[in-house]
């Protein structure tokens, strides 16, 4: 059954996490491959348009590029999402909100750093307002360079993430 973990770091106002006992059991067996097949084919991403890359993010989910083909659909609630896409400039003011979104997502969860701003600060690396080195805060699995990257690049990023999940080398789950 679900066990309460009192040593979990407390996030202001939000969550207390339980572990799913079934998944703990499955991790030790070969069934993990089946699970990973399911997980990699059903990556729901969080709609979190933050900047220039945000429009490309929107376009990717829509008719022309249609990530639904791969089972990748946008979700509005962080509770239903598996992938957080950091799609733009993380400012000092926005970082707490982004962290909260990340904490609200149930694990296993993954991060894609989409665009130069999320990777290194992009053209705004020297600004007084933006926060640099976001990859130190979030366990980023895939980096997508470009300013902004094209939609194809985002789809490619999802493929890379799928490959990582299949090879059990992603940072979102503990094996």
């Amino acid at each position: 059954m679900a066990v309460e973990q009192s040593d979990y770091e407390e996030v202001p106002g939000v969550i207390l996490t339980d572990r799913n006992a079934i998944s703990d059991f499955l991790k030790t067996t070969k069934a993990q491959d089946v699970l990973n097949w399911g997980r990699k084919n059903s990556l729901w991403f969080m709609v979190n348009a933050m900047g220039c890359c945000g429009v490309e993010l929107l376009s990717t989910g829509m008719a022309h590029y249609d990530t639904d083909r791969f089972g990748i659909i946008p979700r509005n609630s962080p509770r239903h999402a598996d992938v957080l896409i950091i799609s733009g400039y993380v400012t000092k003011k926005y970082l707490p909100a982004l962290k909260k979104i990340w904490d609200q997502m149930p694990s296993p969860k993954w991060v894609i750093a989409f665009g130069d701003c999320a990777i290194s600060g992009g053209p705004f690396y020297e600004s007084y307002s933006t926060r640099q080195n976001v990859d130190e805060i979030f366990p980023v699995d895939v980096f997508v360079p470009g300013c902004p990257p094209r939609c194809e690049a985002l789809i490619q990023a999802f493929f890379e993430l799928q490959k990582k999940i299949e090879a059990k080398q992603d940072r979102g789950t503990e094996y």
């Binding site: 220039c52 829509m62 007084y128 933006t130």
Partner: protein
């Protein structure tokens, strides 16, 4: 907003991550039941400090930065910035470059309106419409891509000209895309005007009267929807707009439906403008001849002075105030975005409406948070 909550009232924080905006933005709304009693907008979630960055970049480097003020209107932002420098330095842009600029800026207007309109449709629950407009937008994006080599942030304009000439066969591509786009725009209009549910959600909702709109400082489609024919392209012409035939699209009602209708009309006007440009465009150089200006002007000193230059953004009046002290970097650049006052006027506009209408009204303003925050 008063933080005190009365009986049967609650404060809902919409945002900063919320599907109602393409960008972080927060609306603290005090609700009584489903009705908004009071509200307040919080900004700055993606404030990038562009004005400070521009002070520390050379003029040419600045072009890439101003691109990213508003990602849906990159070319008009560039036009405002480049126009400032050209006014200060007294650069004459050759006619061919001017025409290319107009073509690109109008294309950018079309794609921005398509996104704004489609997104708006999804706010009233019409998700399929969003898909259709994005599909058509991709065609326009491909056109822009074929000229500038980028989809969103172009860095296409240069002081005194443009980076590249139109590619071969561009006119045919435009003809082909516009033929289908015209049909699409007509079908959108028909869909909108024939759908009773859509009409009941939009007609008479979020009415902005001309007086209030002027007081708030609104510009662009939301203002034109109230009956004020205020368009920088007509009132303070730049580039070759005086030579072109176009009308300022105006609606009377000032409600949500009228705003969307103005955007639809403007897309048609933009297509008309582009076709005129393609017919009239003269041959010639892309940069003023006999000067040092070209695709690369690495170090460029601009004479000291101050200038305010404004252009018509897809969302309204985009102005740059530039102060130069004679060095290779601007002394101070102020960016006046069109959405800034519009978003400021949101709280009085949504007072007394239902929760579902917050989204409808905010969406119809076609706001771009990135530009408000800069």
């Amino acid at each position: 907003m008063d933080e005190k909550v009365g009986p049967s009232e609650m404060i809902v924080h919409l945002g900063p991550q919320h599907p109602m905006m393409p960008g972080p933005f927060r609306l603290n709304a005090k609700l009584r039941g489903e009705t908004v009693v009071d509200s307040e907008v919080e900004m700055g979630w993606i404030h990038k400090g562009i004005e400070k960055i521009l002070e520390n970049k050379t003029y040419l480097q600045g072009i890439t930065i101003v691109d990213r003020i508003c990602y849906l209107a990159a070319l008009t932002n560039e036009e405002a910035y480049v126009g400032c420098v050209e006014k200060l330095a007294g650069i004459e842009v050759p006619p061919r470059a001017q025409y290319i600029r107009v073509i690109m800026e109008e294309l950018s207007r079309i794609q921005s309106h398509l996104l704004g309109m489609g997104e708006y449709a999804s706010f009233v629950g019409f998700v399929s419409m969003f898909m259709y407009t994005i599909r058509d937008r991709e065609d326009v994006m491909t056109l822009m891509d074929s000229v500038t080599g980028a989809r969103v942030t172009h860095s296409f304009l240069r002081f005194g000209g443009v980076k590249d000439d139109l590619p071969e066969g561009f006119k045919d591509d435009v003809k082909r895309v516009f033929a289908s786009l015209r049909k699409a725009v007509d079908s959108y209009e028909e869909l909108y005007s024939s759908d009773e549910i859509y009409k009941s959600r939009t007609v008479g909702i979020g009415v902005l009267t001309a007086e209030v709109a002027k007081d708030i400082g609104v510009s662009g489609p939301p203002l034109r929807a109230t009956g004020v024919a205020f368009d920088i392209r007509r009132d303070e012409p730049y580039l070759v707009y005086p030579d072109l035939d176009f009308k300022v699209c105006v609606q009377k009602a000032g409600d949500v439906y009228a705003r969307v209708q103005v955007r639809l009309d403007e897309m048609r006007e933009s297509m008309y403008i582009i076709e005129q440009c393609l017919d009239q465009i003269p041959d010639g150089p892309l940069f003023p001849e006999g000067t040092a200006y070209g695709r690369r002007t690495p170090v460029m000193r601009v004479p000291a002075g101050e200038v305010f230059h404004r252009v018509e953004d897809p969302r309204g009046e985009m102005g740059f105030y530039m102060i130069s002290d004679g060095s290779d970097k601007p002394y101070r650049v102020k960016i006046r975005g069109p959405v800034y006052p519009t978003l400021q006027g949101l709280p009085p506009l949504i007072k007394g409406v239902k929760v579902a209408d917050i989204v409808a009204i905010a969406g119809s303003m076609d706001t771009c948070t990135s530009e408000v925050d800069r």
